[in-house]
């Protein structure tokens, strides 16, 4: 079973969440550090604008989920001590259900938003590349993704949405009316910021793009039909802009009070709208004190979008039912998985014994047989083992599933089998991530284009 430890828009405001924002480059080391601990065997990190969550599993030799959760809290606490009081932790079936709800966008600020599924897949891929995903998280994530896909295809939860970019543009219209002739400044890059810029350009606004790298700025300016400028022109560009959209990955504010105050002065008091899509935030919130300056961060915009939820509440109920069914299926699967080491050991015991006898016979009485005959005999033995073990395997899995309900049955059966067939040594499982069942890669076609921004 797994644990989920983290914080989200429900437990922490943006000022807290941004303390725990990890860059894509930092995440692999963070995860490797975590799985190097005694308690944690597998881990991945889902990090979006609205949530940072560690999904972790215990080592195969240790099923103490509480210890895993504590290790996760400790790792997060070391990274950002200020967030500890905002953390939540789920374990076992509750953690699975939470993860399924997250992937299905049922825990998102904007119910049904499409980005979170891609972000969960990205999180899995990043952890897989870092070597911190094992069989349990692989199977859990696969099922979470499958559940999320069912929600998207079997309900209309994602349709008729007001998006963060569309709210940002509506906001600009409420301040300026027609946007034709107005100037919008895009600071940094980011899928959502670019979408806002394109929508503004479509409404007739002229776009300026400011960034640190000349090539990137020019490319971005071309893609949004705007004019590119370098970072040292940020202050002068601010004075020209009616709408400023900021989305950099800078750890500190890139637009401070002094810059906005100076811009406002040279604009002779004309209004400005700042849309801060970055986490950590790019724009110092103090600027809101200035007359005629309006600042909206990702939380503000997402909350507005979330107001459109009521129309989708029926779809949400249907989606919750799907998630419930899928998480119950997972519980059954996870229960049955307990029987796997015993089944594998039993199979190894039978196959090993038969092959040993076959080898002996091949060296003596059957040494006249050709290689083809030997291969045919091996196939026959495998088929016989499968046939012999079919019923016991099903029975063991069933009793393991029932064990998750009443806590008896499977242990007795497993103990008897271990005694009868001396399985003790055969049921030891290699505990390194990915050792027993190599997690196949998530098909690239399954991964939606990353859109970034307000989700999860």
């Amino acid at each position: 079973m797994i644990v989920v430890v983290g914080l989200s828009h429900k437990s922490a405001p943006i000022a807290v969440r941004e303390q725990l924002a990890l860059s894509q480059q930092d995440i692999p080391d963070f995860l490797r550090g975590l799985v190097a601990s005694e308690e944690v065997g597998e881990a991945l990190l889902v990090s979006t604008c609205n949530r940072v969550e560690l999904v972790a599993a215990a080592r195969a030799t240790n099923d103490d989920l509480e210890a895993v959760a504590k290790a996760c809290v400790r790792a997060i606490g070391e990274r950002a001590p200020g967030v500890k009081t905002h953390l939540y932790a789920h374990s076992g079936a509750k953690a699975v259900r939470h993860l399924f709800r997250v992937a299905a966008s049922l825990d998102s600020l904007v119910l049904g938003e499409p980005q979170i599924l891609g972000q969960v897949k990205d999180a899995y891929e990043l952890a897989r590349e870092a070597g911190t995903v094992g069989p349990l998280l692989h199977r859990t994530l696969s099922r979470a993704i499958r559940s999320a896909k069912r929600v998207r295809t079997e309900t209309s939860i994602g349709s008729g949405q007001v998006s963060v970019p569309s709210v940002a543009v509506d906001l600009a219209r409420q301040v300026f009316g027609e946007l034709k002739g107005h100037r919008a400044l895009l600071v940094g890059s980011g899928e959502m910021a670019e979408t806002v810029a394109r929508l503004l350009a479509g409404s007739g606004a002229r776009i300026l793009v400011v960034g640190r790298t000349k090539e990137k700025v020019e490319e971005l300016a071309r893609s949004v039909g705007g004019e590119g400028r370098l970072w040292n022109e940020l202050r002068s560009s601010l004075a020209e802009a009616d709408v400023v959209i900021s989305s950099t990955s800078a750890p500190d504010f890139v637009i401070d009070y002094e810059a906005v105050h100076a811009a406002r002065k040279s604009r002779r008091g004309r209004m400005q709208v700042y849309i801060d899509l970055a986490v950590p935030r790019d724009v110092d919130p103090v600027i809101e004190k200035l007359d005629g300056v309006y600042l909206y961060n990702i939380d503000d915009l997402s909350k507005v979008v979330a107001q459109t939820l009521s129309a989708r509440s029926l779809e949400a109920e249907a989606a919750e039912r799907i998630v419930e069914t899928e998480s119950q299926n997972y519980d059954r699967w996870a229960g049955a998985e307990v029987a796997t080491p015993t089944i594998v050991a039993l199979r190894q015991r039978l196959s090993g014994t038969l092959r040993y006898e076959l080898d002996r016979s091949m060296r003596s009485r059957l040494k006249h047989l050709s290689n083809d005959d030997r291969a045919a005999l091996e196939k026959m033995l495998d088929a016989a083992v499968n046939r012999l073990l079919h019923h016991p395997t099903m029975h063991l899995r069933r009793s393991a599933m029932e064990r998750s309900l009443d806590g008896v049955g499977f242990e007795q059966l497993a103990a008897v089998l271990e005694d009868l067939f001396e399985l003790g040594s055969a049921s030891q499982v290699d505990e390194s991530p990915g050792a027993s069942i190599a997690p196949p890669e998530v098909e690239s076609s399954e991964l939606p284009k990353k859109t970034g921004g307000a989700s999860g």
Binding site: L171, Q174, G177, R268, D291, V304, Q307
Partner: protein
Amino acid sequence: MTALTSIAFYLGVIAYSAATTLFFLELMRSDATASRAVWATRLLAFAALLHGTHVVSASLLTRVCPVESLHFALSLSALVAVVVYLVFQGRSRLYAMGAFVAPLGLTFLVAAQFVGQSASLELPFSRALLALHIAANVLGVGLFLLAGAAGIFYLVQDRRLRQKKILGTGGRLPPLETLDRSAHRLLLAGFPLLTFGVVTGAVFTQKLGEFEGLALARSLLGYATWLLVAGVLVMRRLGSFGGRRAAYGTLAGVLCLLLVLFVYAVQPAGGPPS
């Protein structure tokens, strides 16, 4: 003629009331789909037509020039505000201000019925100048009332946006920049009229020798209005004033103007305007 006056009055009241209701319903709608409040605007235009008919027929009936009587002056000011609004409302969602203009027309149409008429006096100055003085004030009051409405709407919209209430009730208010620009232009248009009214009023006061009591209060309030409006315009020009501060300044000026009207209303009949 009496029947025409009465019919115009009662129908005007009904049309203004209906327009007011429709404008408020439009304002309270939470969805952002564009609707131009077509029926509310048509009703308001109809009400303005009846209002004008009432003013003309009533002045013919009483043989009083509309601009020489407070009775008509108040009514005319509101009519000016309504007509100016109707001319400019189509631009940039200003139609939401109909929720202010329609009840304003209704209030002044009804209130003017209860304000005493000026008696015909022997005046120590030209009647034509007096007519110009009142006409300028009537137009100026109409424009300033609209500027005040724009200021109020600006502050409401500013508050909504600062509280991050982008959607929901009130989402149909005009854009901030439009409100700010409208208030500025209305003040600019009304300021020369106000200046003329204040200067001619000072001349009349001097000739009538009225330097105490309500007449003095009225004069002082008139000067205060002029100073406030002038201050707002100058500060805006210098670029150090705009947005909320300009809206508050405009509202302070309009408040002084309303106090001037109030002094007129409570002044004993016969006092000349200033």
